[in-house]
C-alpha cells in the first residue's frame, strides 16, 4: 500500500487517507489546482457545496446539466466562455480562490458547474504567496472536520442526478443567465446545510478556499458557532441569522436566508439584478469587479492591475462603514470612536496574517480601530482561527495618538507628592545607549544601517547613574530640624575643648619660690632642730587610749588591723609602732591582719622595728601573729567578724595565740590603723556588733580623723579610743614613756604647719586684694564708658 508522508509531522500515512492519523493534518489539499482530480469531479468533494465545488473544477456534467446557468451567465455577462473569464484577485486567499466563472445552479438536476480562475499575483510590491498545504494553518487543514453541512452537500462528484444542488444554491447562482458556466467550475453551495447536499457532497476534500468557506458560512448558519465570536462578528451573524430564520428553512440557494448569510459584497446589485426572488441587502457601492463578475459574468472582468485591485478592495472595505449593514454597525460599535472614521485596513492585515504576508503598509496600526472587536476572539470552534490570530496580531502595543491623549496625568494627593523622592526619574536606571530608528549601527555586518534591532535586550543595557542616592522632599522647617539634630549629634561626639588657663610666669615663679622656701625651712629645721617647739600635751583621746590598753588583761590576743598604704607610713608607722610596743609591754599578743595586699609587708616592717622586752626581735607565733591578707574588702570584714578562724586557714599548732579565739569578741581589743575614712567606717560598721563589750580603737591619719571622730564622740561611742596623726603618735609615745621616734619630726612638722598657714593667709589676702582691684578697674572702665556715652 502506498504511503504518503505527512507534511506536518513527517510520519508515513496510507495514501488513501486525507488526514494524517498522527497529527490530523491534511495529507491532500482541499483544492489542488495542479492535481488532475481538481479538474474533474472527485470523490473527495462530497462535503463541498456544489457551488463551491464548481468553482474549483470544471464539471462537464454541470455544464451540460445546467444550460440555463450558462445562459444566465451569458445574458448577464455576455461572455459564454467561462474559461476566459479569468480575473485576478489580489485580496485574501479565500477571495482569490473564489471561482469567478462559477455558474449558479439553475436546476436541481444540473450538476454544479466548475469554474476555473486564475490568480494573478499583483506586482504592487506586496509579496504574495499562495501558501502550500504545509503552510496552511491547522484550522484550515482541519476544515474537513468542521465543514458545514452546506459545504458537504454541495459536492460536485457523483451523479448529477443525485446531487440536489439546485435547491442549495442561491437563485442568482442557479439562474442560467446569472453566471457563465465555466468548465470544471464548481458551484457555490448553499450556506444552509441540508442532509441531501451533505450526503451527496463532493468527494473531494475541500481545498483551502473551500475550507475558508467552511467556517464562515457555518458561522453564519449555526447559532452555536456565535458563542465565541467577537461581538462585531456575532452581531453580524445574529443579524444574518435573524434574516435567515425568517426565510425558508430549506435553505434554497435563492432563499433570503441563504442570501442573508452571504456577505454583502457577494450579494451585489449587479449579481442580484436579474436574479428573481432575491432579497439582497443593501450592498456596498463599490464591489470588486472580480466579485461582480460572479453575478454578471458577461461583464468584463479584466485583469486589473494590482493597484486597482487594491483600490477596489479598500473601497469596498471602507464602504462597509457607511453601510447600515449590521456587520458594519457592529464593527463601528466595537471600534474606538476615533478609529470609527473608516480605516478598516485591519481586514487586509488579517489577510496578511493568514497568508503570511508581511505588511509594511502604514495601515497596520489602523488595525487597532477595530481592536475591541477582537477582544473576544480566542479561537472558537466556529470562528476561523485566522480571525482570532489576526486579532491578536493586530493588537500591537503601539497606541494611536488619539487613544494616548485620552489618558490624563493622574493627580497625586499632597501627602503622596511629599513622599515622592526627588529626582527619582533622573536616577532611575536607564538604558545606556539610545535606541530608535535614528540609531546607526556601528559595528558588525549591519554597520551603517538605521533602525537595526539591538542584539541584546534592553535590560542588559540598563545601568545606574553615578548618583544613586534618592532624596526625599522635605520642607524648610524639617530641614532646619534636621540640621539642629545633626549638630547636636556631632557635638556629642566631639570632646569638649578645654580652654587652657593662661599661666603667667609670675605664677610659676611664685610656686617655685614657695616650694623652695618650704623645703629650705624644713631642711634647716631637720638638720639643726631649730626652732625647737614644745612637745604637745597629750590630748584627751590619747590619754583615754593609753588607759584602755592599760586595762587589758595580759596574755590576751589583741587584734591589730593594719590598713594604711605605704605612702602614709611616715605618719602611721610611729603611731602604730607605739601602740604595738605598748601592747607587747602589757603582755598582749598582737594578731595582725590587713585588708590591703601591701598590709603584710607593712606588718613585717612594723614588727621588725619592735623589740621584745628582752631586746630581742619579736617571734611570730609567740610574740605576734601575722594572719596576712584578708581579701574581699567589706565582705572580708564581715566574714572575719562572723568567723575569724574560717577566714584564714589556721592551725592551732601554728598559732597558739589563736587557740582560744572562736569569735571576734574573744579578742581583748580590736585596733584599726588606717589612713582611709572609708575603711575605718567599714570596720566600725562590720565589727561593732560582733565585738560586744570589747573596745574598738582607731589609729588614723590626720586626714581621716575628722571623719572618724563622730564615731568617737557619739553617745554611746562606737569607737572607744581615737589617736590620730603625728601629734597623736608623739603624744602616745610620751604618755607611754617610750623613746619617741616621732619627736624628731615635731619641729619641722610644726614649722611646716606654720609656713603653710602663713602662705595660706598671705595668698588669701593677696587674692582678695587683687579681686577688689580688678573689680574697681572694671567699674571705673564701665563708668568711663557710660560717661563718654552720656
Amino acid at each position: 500500500m502506498e504511503e504518503v508522508r505527512c507534511p506536518m509531522c513527517g510520519k508515513p500515512n496510507p495514501a488513501d487517507l486525507d488526514v494524517c492519523r498522527f497529527c490530523e493534518a491534511r495529507l491532500r489539499p482541499v483544492w489542488d489546482p495542479e492535481s488532475p482530480a481538481s479538474s474533474e469531479p472527485s470523490t473527495g468533494d462530497e462535503d463541498l457545496p456544489d457551488w463551491l465545488r464548481s468553482l474549483g473544477t470544471p464539471d462537464p456534467k454541470g455544464s451540460e446539466a445546467e444550460p440555463a446557468a450558462e445562459e444566465l451567465w451569458e445574458d448577464q455577462s455576455g461572455e459564454s466562455d467561462a474559461e476566459s473569464a479569468d480575473f485576478t484577485l489580489d485580496a485574501g486567499d479565500w477571495l482569490s480562490r473564489i471561482g469567478v466563472d462559477a455558474p449558479p445552479h439553475s436546476t436541481e438536476d444540473v450538476p454544479p458547474p466548475t469554474y476555473e480562475y486564475q490568480i494573478e499575483e499583483p506586482d504592487d510590491g506586496f509579496e504574495w504567496r499562495v501558501p502550500e498545504d504545509e503552510d496552511l494553518p491547522d484550522w484550515l487543514k482541519r476544515a474537513e472536520i468542521e465543514q458545514p453541512d452546506w459545504l458537504k452537500r454541495t459536492e460536485s462528484t457523483g451523479p448529477a442526478a443525485d446531487v440536489p444542488v439546485a435547491a442549495d444554491l442561491p437563485e442568482w447562482l442557479i439562474e442560467p443567465t446569472a453566471l457563465p458556466q465555466a468548465p470544471g467550475a464548481e458551484t457555490v453551495g448553499d450556506a444552509d446545510s441540508e442532509p441531501q447536499a451533505e450526503e451527496s457532497g463532493a468527494q473531494e476534500q475541500p481545498t483551502g478556499l473551500e475550507a475558508e468557506f467552511d467556517s464562515l458560512p457555518d458561522l453564519l448558519a449555526e447559532p452555536e458557532a456565535f458563542t465565541d465570536l467577537p461581538e462585531w462578528l456575532a452581531g453580524a451573524a445574529e443579524l444574518s441569522q435573524t434574516e435567515v430564520g425568517a426565510a425558508d428553512s430549506s435553505g434554497a440557494p435563492g432563499s433570503p436566508d441563504f442570501q442573508a448569510d452571504l456577505p454583502d459584497w457577494i450579494t451585489s446589485d449587479a449579481a442580484t439584478q436579474d436574479a428573481p426572488d432575491l432579497e439582497f441587502r443593501e450592498t456596498p457601492a463599490d464591489i470588486p469587479s472580480q466579485l461582480e463578475s460572479i453575478g454578471a459574468p458577461s461583464v468584463e472582468s479584466p485583469a486589473k492591475t494590482d493597484a486597482a485591485a487594491d483600490d477596489d478592495l479598500a473601497a469596498w472595505l471602507s464602504a462597509l462603514e457607511a453601510d447600515d449593514d449590521a456587520v458594519g454597525d457592529v464593527i463601528l460599535s466595537k471600534a474606538d470612536e476615533t478609529e470609527a472614521e473608516g480605516d478598516l485596513s485591519w481586514l487586509s492585515e488579517l489577510e496578511a496574517a493568514q497568508t503570511g504576508l508581511d505588511l509594511v503598509a502604514d495601515d497596520a496600526a489602523d488595525a487597532l480601530s477595530v481592536e475591541g472587536a477582537f477582544d473576544d476572539a480566542p479561537a472558537p470552534s466556529g470562528l476561523p482561527g485566522w480571525l482570532g490570530q489576526a486579532a491578536a496580531e493586530a493588537e500591537t502595543p503601539e497606541k494611536p495618538p488619539e487613544a494616548a491623549d485620552d489618558l490624563g496625568v493622574a493627580e497625586l494627593p499632597s501627602w503622596l507628592q511629599a513622599m515622592r523622592p526627588l529626582g527619582a526619574t533622573e536616577f532611575a536606571p536607564h538604558a545606556s545607549a539610545p535606541t530608535g530608528e535614528d540609531q546607526v549601527e556601528g559595528a558588525g555586518p549591519l554597520a551603517g544601517l538605521r533602525g537595526v534591532l539591538p542584539a541584546e535586550p534592553d535590560i542588559t543595557r540598563i545601568e545606574k547613574t553615578a548618583a544613586d542616592i534618592v532624596r526625599l522632599q522635605i520642607s524648610d522647617a524639617q530641614e532646619v530640624q534636621v540640621k539642629l539634630l545633626s549638630e547636636m549629634i556631632e557635638l556629642e561626639a566631639q570632646s569638649p575643648t578645654v580652654i587652657p588657663r593662661s599661666t603667667t610666669a609670675t605664677g610659676a615663679a611664685l610656686r617655685l619660690a614657695v616650694s623652695l622656701l618650704l623645703l629650705v625651712s624644713l631642711l634647716v629645721a631637720i638638720f639643726t632642730g631649730l626652732p625647737a617647739y614644745r612637745l604637745p600635751l597629750p590630748p584627751a583621746e590619747v590619754v583615754h587610749a593609753v588607759q584602755l590598753i592599760e586595762s587589758l588583761p595580759a596574755g590576751a590576743p589583741a587584734l591589730v588591723i593594719v590598713d594604711y598604704e605605704p605612702g602614709y607610713s611616715a605618719e602611721m608607722d610611729p603611731l602604730t609602732r607605739s601602740v604595738v610596743v605598748h601592747l607587747i609591754q602589757r603582755g598582749l599578743v598582737p594578731v595582725f591582719v590587713s585588708t590591703l595586699p601591701t598590709g603584710p609587708m607593712q606588718i613585717q616592717r612594723l614588727v621588725t622595728a619592735v623589740r621584745a622586752d628582752d631586746g630581742q626581735p619579736l617571734e611570730s607565733g609567740r610574740h605576734y601573729t601575722n594572719l596576712g591578707y584578708l581579701p574581699g574588702g567589706a565582705l572580708g570584714m564581715a566574714n572575719f567578724a562572723a568567723a575569724p578562724r574560717s577566714a584564714f586557714v589556721l592551725d592551732g599548732s601554728e598559732v597558739p595565740a589563736l587557740q582560744p579565739v572562736d569569735s571576734l569578741d574573744d579578742f581583748a581589743v580590736a585596733i584599726v590603723a588606717t589612713e582611709s575614712p572609708e575603711r575605718a567606717r567599714g570596720w566600725v560598721e562590720q565589727t561593732r556588733f560582733r565585738l560586744g563589750d570589747r573596745p574598738l580603737m582607731m589609729l588614723t591619719s590626720a586626714q581621716a580623723e575628722p571623719l572618724v571622730r563622730p564615731y568617737y564622740d557619739s553617745a554611746p561611742a562606737q569607737v572607744a579610743a581615737l589617736v590620730g596623726g603625728l601629734r597623736g603618735a608623739v603624744a602616745y609615745e610620751i604618755n607611754t614613756g617610750q623613746v619617741s621616734t616621732a619627736a624628731g619630726s615635731w619641729s619641722p612638722y610644726n614649722l611646716g604647719l606654720i609656713l603653710a598657714t602663713i602662705f595660706m593667709v598671705l595668698g588669701g589676702v593677696v587674692s582678695w586684694m587683687g579681686s577688689r582691684i580688678t573689680g574697681r578697674r572694671e567699674q571705673q572702665a564701665v563708668k568711663g564708658a557710660s560717661g563718654r556715652n552720656e
Partner: protein, 218 residues
C-alpha cells in the same frame, strides 16, 4: 648593704618626684610608672601566694574530697568571671558579677544602716538630753550647743544640695542652703588640713632620710 642600697634607691626616686616642682617632666613620669608597676606586681604576687594557691589550687589538686568539692564551685565561678574579658562570651560572667555586686551591696548597705545611720542619729538625739556633757568634756550646756550645731549643720548640708533651673528658692531655703555651704566648706577645709599634715609628715620623713644619708656620708 641592702639597707644602704634601698636608701639610695629611695633617694633617687625622691629626687625624681621632687622634679615635679619644675613642672611635669619625664623623670616624674618615670617614677610614677615604676611605682605603679611595682605595686601591681607585688599585689599579684601576694594574691597568688596568699589566696589562689592555698585556698583554691591546693585543695583542688591535693585536698580531701570535701575540700575539692568546696573548691570546685569558686573555681568554676572564677572561670566564668574571667569570661568577662572576652566580648563574645562575656555574658557567661554576668551572673557571677551580679552575685558579687549584689552581695557586696547588701553588706555595705546593711552595715551603713545599722552601723552608721541609726547609731549616729540616736547619738545626735541623745545629745539634746538634759545634763548631757559635751564631748571631750566641758559644761553640760555645751553639749546641747554642740548637738544643735551638729543638727543644723547636717540639715543645712542636705538642704544645700537642691538645684533648680527655673524655680527660685525662697529666702529661708536660700539661707539654710548658705549655712550648709558654710558647713561643707568647713568640713572640706578640715579634710584638706589633714591631707596637708599627712603629706607634710611624709615630706619631713623623706627629707630626714636624705639628711641622714648625707650625714652618714659625711
Amino acid at each position: 648593704m641592702n639597707e644602704m642600697l634601698g636608701t639610695l634607691i629611695g633617694l633617687f626616686f625622691t629626687l625624681l618626684v621632687f622634679s615635679y616642682l619644675l613642672g611635669d617632666n619625664v623623670l616624674f613620669r618615670l617614677a610614677v610608672h615604676i611605682f605603679i608597676g611595682v605595686s601591681a606586681g607585688y599585689v599579684v604576687a601576694v594574691l597568688a601566694t596568699n589566696i589562689l594557691w592555698p585556698r583554691l589550687i591546693a585543695p583542688l589538686l591535693g585536698g580531701a574530697p570535701a575540700e575539692q568539692l568546696a573548691a570546685v564551685v569558686p573555681f568554676v565561678l572564677g572561670l566564668l568571671l574571667l569570661a568577662r574579658a572576652l566580648p563574645r562570651i562575656s555574658g557567661l560572667g554576668s551572673p557571677v558579677l551580679a552575685f558579687l555586686v549584689g552581695v557586696g551591696a547588701a553588706v555595705v548597705v546593711s552595715g551603713a544602716i545599722t552601723g552608721t545611720l541609726i547609731p549616729q542619729t540616736a547619738a545626735t538625739i541623745n545629745r539634746f538630753g538634759p545634763g548631757e556633757p559635751a564631748p571631750g568634756g566641758g559644761p553640760s550646756g555645751w553639749g546641747f550647743l554642740d548637738a544643735a550645731i551638729i543638727l543644723v549643720g547636717a540639715v543645712a548640708t542636705l538642704a544645700y544640695f537642691q538645684f533648680h533651673k527655673r524655680i527660685s528658692l525662697p529666702v529661708y531655703s536660700q539661707a539654710v542652703g548658705w549655712i550648709g555651704r558654710v558647713a561643707i566648706a568647713i568640713t572640706l577645709g578640715a579634710v584638706f588640713a589633714g591631707v596637708y599634715m599627712a603629706a607634710l609628715a611624709a615630706l619631713i620623713e623623706r627629707l630626714g632620710a636624705v639628711v641622714g644619708l648625707f650625714k652618714g656620708f659625711l
